[in-house]
Amino acid sequence: MSTSQHQTKKIGVLNLQGAVSEHLAALNRIENVDPIAIKDPKQLDDIDGLIIPGGESTAISRLIKQNGLIAPIKNFAKQGKAILGTCAGLVLCGKQTTHNEVELLDLLDITVERNGFGRQINSFETTLEIEAIGQAVPAVFIRAPYIASAGEGVRQLAFVDDKCVMAQQGNIVVCSFHPELTQDDQIIRYFINLC
């Protein structure tokens, strides 16, 4: 028991709005991970990695600001700690959106097209070949954004047609889709290895 304790990683899920319980449940399926819901900036000091979940990016952005979380999250990233942003989380981690409608965290050098795949009736499921992750990775896209352009330091990891839907810059990983809505833990495990 004492050996497993010091390997355990504490992973936070930003608990303001959106698919929080789904990410906590996915983390619970993985060994040596202690999942924690995060609302208070002070909680960031205790965790090894942070997930910014899917939800409505406009709503989450407002709540991040209102709750004094912008600087603490940026600081968390600067310390080299890992952050995973899914869907709205991808939008929030970005540098800018094509229409500048949401205040972002600017954690990696990407420009995001919000709702880039269209409205809800165009939401879809598919499988992706992701060299860094594996083959036939199930991916659920819900009013999903895509990465319209990325800076030089960004690794573009997955595509739907010619649209980039997953990227990484150092300790920051983002995807347009929802690994937490599937039973496939490969992407979450990939992120935990960075933590």
């Binding site: 709005q17 959106g18 319980s21 409505e56 409608e101 809800q120 165009n122 879809f124 499921e125 992706l128």
Partner: protein, 297 residues
Amino acid sequence: MSMQFKTGTETVKRGMAQMQKGGVIMDVINAEQAKIAEQAGAVAVMALERVPSDIRAAGGVARMADPTIVAEVMEAVTIPVMAKARIGHIVEARILESMGVDYIDESEVLTPADEQYHLLKNEFTVPFVCGCRDLGEALRRLGEGASMLRTKGEPGTGNIVEAVRHMRKVNEQIRQVVSKSKDELMTYAKEIGAPYELLLEIKQLGKLPVVNFAAGGVATPADAALMMQLGADGVFVGSGIFKSENPEKFARAIVEATTYFDDYPRLAELSKGLGQAMKGIEISRLSDIERMQDRGW
């Protein structure tokens, strides 16, 4: 290598509602109100011709909104847009789907088009939310393909009592299902009018397989926080915002109260100086025919 894309799947339809959790969905009747709602942090708006309290006051037959209003709201905001169709009105629902509305509420706030049957919602690509007063009603709607649930409450009254009753009832019955043995569930299915297979699923999950919001009577930030404490996944506010004295302030306060529903000093602070909430109605003053929650079967 060609990829396969599947739209309108159960995961995609239910998933959309999962992304709304912890949020507030606000009724709006034009682009201006929609923008106020979005600015305040709403996770979606419900585009209507009239809010429920005005539908109540106007009387007559309440129908799907003029598509002009729905289109205007869709144009005005980047958050999801929902719209209401009458219970059982296949064509209103198909019209809204064709317009690209993100979610349809098959709603008792409108005058039912069918007094026997609800829509077969699993035939649509667009997802549906439906109201429920108890677990049987909730599971009948899921059986038809609803992807999200909400309490019915009593719309347009500004009185939270019915939403509380419905949320407590559903959660009490879920606990009963979990504690019953499997051989008791068929009889229970018969008693509450619920599909047996869905009761088995609830026994295994310990909860509903879809998101369940509160609706029908939320008028103040404290009402929203109360419903979250009772286990709601989020909140619909109908007349409560734009029938209050100061809609911008009310909208922001209700969003914040939904997020921080158990932080009492914060709730005290955000409830200060909001001005008058919508004027409410005592439920016992409503005649049977005025009770919207009794519509639906």
